[in-house]
Symmetry: C2
Subunit: 567 residues, 2 copies
């Protein structure tokens, strides 16, 4: 491709709204353009890179035995009613009403559609296992789209679904997909961390995320120093610093004006870790209390798991009505909750604790001398806290919290969808069984941008060769010089013969402008053809990543690059 | 791919709703499955064929110099308000409302988005011409989806858009695209007819359709016997049989109970061709009359062109109010329309006609002795009639009307969109000019089904090699026989070496079942490996199209097929 015939304008500056490097580079290097918030058009260079990512995903899916299909984006809502997800996912669903007043869902994911497909296709255990995948456009009604392709309204996903005859088979299919994911991320140039993850609204028994460590990541990852434990913050478990309390008897004391854990610490000298934090949730009908130690935070995903989907933090009025007191004076003291229909879930860290302080469920009063299991109403124990930097793992190793970009996710779903949507088969004994499912997603457009986020410097992108829009940027200086023209032709012939793709900067621009753009676009190798070096029988080949330069004979450039690629 | 690991179930019968052969075969051969009316999932075999069509489209687009991009399906409606199409296209637009009550359009086409993109990218004539294309999913709110992929709610399109500095350049770009279309349709195995077409809601000055002749086609095509004229019925011009009238004076006569042209012919002996047919249209505010000869029909697209978009056939009450009479007694007799604000467009065939009969605009009365230009109020002359079989062309040749599947469409758009959406550039004199545009569409999924519609027989599909899901169906009989197994391995190695893709029927089924399925699936060659022929040192290669069989040595099968493909 010649620059003068391409659709490529590089920008000196990115719009102010592009806050992160990869988003800025996406626009500055002419890879994509914003149509409107959360919606992007891929320009030719960006699309080429995207297709290379797609090809790698496809190759590894095929190699793992998955079968490619293509499902519609428009989905009938009745499938989502059957799976029970229409409410749970309502916030992010784009819904369409047609001229006949029928509703449609623009799919953010395809568990329902693929399961109902397999309900029709599979009759016997002999047709299992099967893993299906597609690379297809997804939709999410993102209220605050962010960071370019990172969180968009419309994006490309690779979504896969495995169907097995039993749990053991499902685990094998799951491992095959997770193994393919490791290869995919490695091939596109990402060191993605595989972490235990929450199953969330998807349901199921097991889940892993693949995250690319990056400061701008929206996810938090917990890792063990010198160990192998890695989990998403929603799922991570850790132990905080130990606390020693002194047993005593429960005693009410006045705490006028106290509204927070910090207030009580400052004004009454009661350390946060000696307090029980009581948080109220509601699903509109029922009330749930979550208790954590005063210096801990309740983890949202764990709350959802413990209380069930649909619970949210209660508003002040709801709290007052349910508890008879306001935030700041709340407590799960059994005596004060008598007759109230409230479910209390306590964090495991509180187990066995004595000499603690909690609200009296009476404004302006607290209890001290609390012995958790003696004095509080507790219906269920669970891990409810958010891991903090400095916690220790089960192995006694220090935990570190860092940020990551979630690029992939795998779920072992069990039979939730196959039961709801009738994906059943006859087992060898002629008995009907629901298929055991898994689902697996890779954000293809997000992965592309993560590559840029990880591979760039102050001058521009540093594409890994596997996904670079082109492998070589051919920069011809002194275009009018016949010897340079001849050398350019030679280099092109050599690259074509070697099967190396290149982009030719044939613009009538100063060398400085061309070099700056070559750095910004960031193809792995820049080949510069100018009168001076041609006179010496060579052209300059420069690595974008290392900056290393070498003189290569024009006819040898193709092989030279191929050897580098193979190295 | 092995059948026992594939996702492939062939069906003996297609669902009753599949009315046409290609739709039945799409389902019977396991290429696609219906999710719900107008929405289809591509199964692996169907997707492979689709990808092959896509690849051919992409190759020819690239060869013609078009640049591939990818635009979002979700589009902001304000762009459609700027182009003025939001009303005109409202009937087929899927509209989405998000959680913030903002509206979105699910794009049926991308003129607005691409023009606003180019408004940002192009500043100078030096950046022109450019033709951009994408292969992308489109949406149409089809009230009556039909014939599988032929008329679906969601479908794959290749849409291209050319931007030129002037009209002459635009015509060149148009020719390049139309040339690419001819190659594409020929390569996928379709003899598509290029016809002059109506520009319709798209606007613009010139248009061509590509139609595949087929009885089930929804479009009508007019061709010249022994000539080169070809046009879509909406655009076609022809001359009907000539009529000779006798001049006289206008005279009213009673015609009680007459409601139709036919009534008047039957009860009063006035031949249809001696009558003027008067049809009333309205846009809610204005009234327009269209006059054609009594034996002709007014052509809808021509009416829209002559009266303007938004006009529709008036309802009886509207007719009564505008005309003062009811259908059956309507006429454009000047004397009766005095004081009425009505635009009358007359078909060219009526020019110079005398001795005609028309309604008196008074129920139960007609006029005879009408001399069209003397007695009728006519504001505009235009070709308004629908060509009929037997008309003659301008060249005096007989015209034939047949049916076709529209697979491609090209429009020379002019500056309608570039003016509305600001796609302007500075010309060599530093003057701002709007880009001159063209747009070009191929229904990729429809093209795929058209291939099946054209290439099948009673036993199944007869894929052209270029788009067949696989080139070879490998049928192994006597699976347990070691010699057969060895020959199968040899054939596979030979095919792989030759780069020929194949599908292996490794099922434990009777030969009859396998042969029947091979015919249904319709890959170009069936290679049968059985104990008998292997003993003689050969395998049987059979052409699906001709039925010709040949014995080929197992190691030679790959080269044999390659030679056939090259022939």
């Amino acid at each position: 491709m010649r620059w003068t015939q391409a659709l490529l304008t590089t920008l000196r500056d990115a719009p102010a709204e592009a806050e992160i490097a990869s988003h800025q580079l996406l626009l500055r290097a002419g890879l994509a353009r914003k149509l409107t918030s959360g919606l992007y058009t891929f320009l030719p260079l960006g699309l080429r890179a995207l297709r290379k990512v797609e090809r790698i995903v496809r190759e590894e899916m095929d190699r793992a035995g998955a079968l490619e299909i293509l499902m519609p984006a428009l989905q009938p809502p009745d499938l989502w009613e059957k799976s029970g997800r229409i409410q749970a996912a309502a916030d992010v669903l784009f819904q369409v009403k047609d001229h006949q007043e029928r509703r449609w869902i623009l799919g953010p994911t395809h568990e329902e559609v693929v399961t109902s497909l397999m309900a029709g296709e599979v009759q016997s255990y002999r047709q299992l296992p099967r893993t299906l995948y597609q690379i297809q456009t997804k939709y999410r009604d993102e209220i605050r789209p962010r960071f370019g392709l990172m969180r968009a309204k419309e994006f490309l996903m690779k979504d896969a679904y495995s169907f097995d005859a039993d749990e053991a088979g499902a685990k094998q299919s799951y491992e095959a997909m997770v193994g393919a994911y490791r290869k995919i991320f490695s091939r596109v140039g990402l060191q993605a961390l595989q972490t235990e993850a929450d199953t969330g609204v998807m349901g199921g028994s097991s889940s892993h995320e693949f995250s690319v460590p990056a400061e701008i990541g929206e996810g938090e990852i917990v890792t063990e120093e010198g160990g192998s434990y890695a989990a998403a913050i929603e799922k991570a478990e850790g132990c905080p610093t130990e606390r020693k309390g002194v047993a005593g008897k429960m005693e009410k004391f006045p705490t006028p004006g106290i509204r927070t854990i910090l207030d009580l610490e400052k004004k009454h000298g009661i350390a946060a870790q000696d307090q029980v934090k009581t948080i109220v949730f509601t699903n509109g009908k029922e009330t749930g209390l979550v208790l954590v130690r005063g210096d801990d935070e309740a983890q949202e995903a764990k709350v959802a798991r413990a209380l069930g989907a649909g619970f949210r933090a209660a508003a002040d009025a709801e709290i007052k009505e349910a508890m008879g007191a306001s935030p700041g004076s709340l407590g799960a003291v059994a005596a004060t909750l008598a007759g109230k229909k409230i479910t209390v879930v306590a964090d495991l860290v509180l187990k066995g604790q004595v000499g603690m302080v909690t609200g009296a469920n009476e404004n302006g009063f607290h209890f001290k001398g609390i012995e958790v299991e003696r004095d509080l109403k507790i219906d269920k124990w669970a891990d409810m806290r958010t891991v903090r930097e400095g916690d220790v793992s089960a192995e006694g190793k220090k935990l570190k919290v860092s940020r990551g970009i979630e690029v992939g996710h795998a779920f072992l779903l069990g039979t939730k969808y196959s039961v709801a949507l009738g994906a059943k088969f006859l087992d060898p004994h002629g008995k009907e069984q629901p298929a055991v499912m898994g689902c697996y997603g890779i954000g293809v457009t997000r992965t592309l941008q993560a590559v840029i986020e990880v591979h760039h410097d102050k001058d521009g992108i540093q594409w890994p060769a596997a996904v670079a829009p082109y492998t070589v940027m051919l920069v011809t200086l002194d275009l009018a010089d016949p010897a340079v023209k001849a050398a350019t032709d030679q280099v092109m012939a050599s690259l074509e013969k070697a099967g190396v793709d290149y982009f030719w900067d044939d613009r009538d621009e100063r060398p400085g402008v061309k070099f700056k753009d070559a750095d910004l676009l960031g193809f792995p190798w820049r080949v510069t053809i100018g009168a001076k070096s041609v006179a010496k029988g060579g052209v300059e080949v420069k690595s974008r990543k290392t900056g290393a330069m070498e003189m290569v004979s024009p006819a040898e450039v193709g092989n030279w690059v191929r050897n580098q690629l193979a190295a």
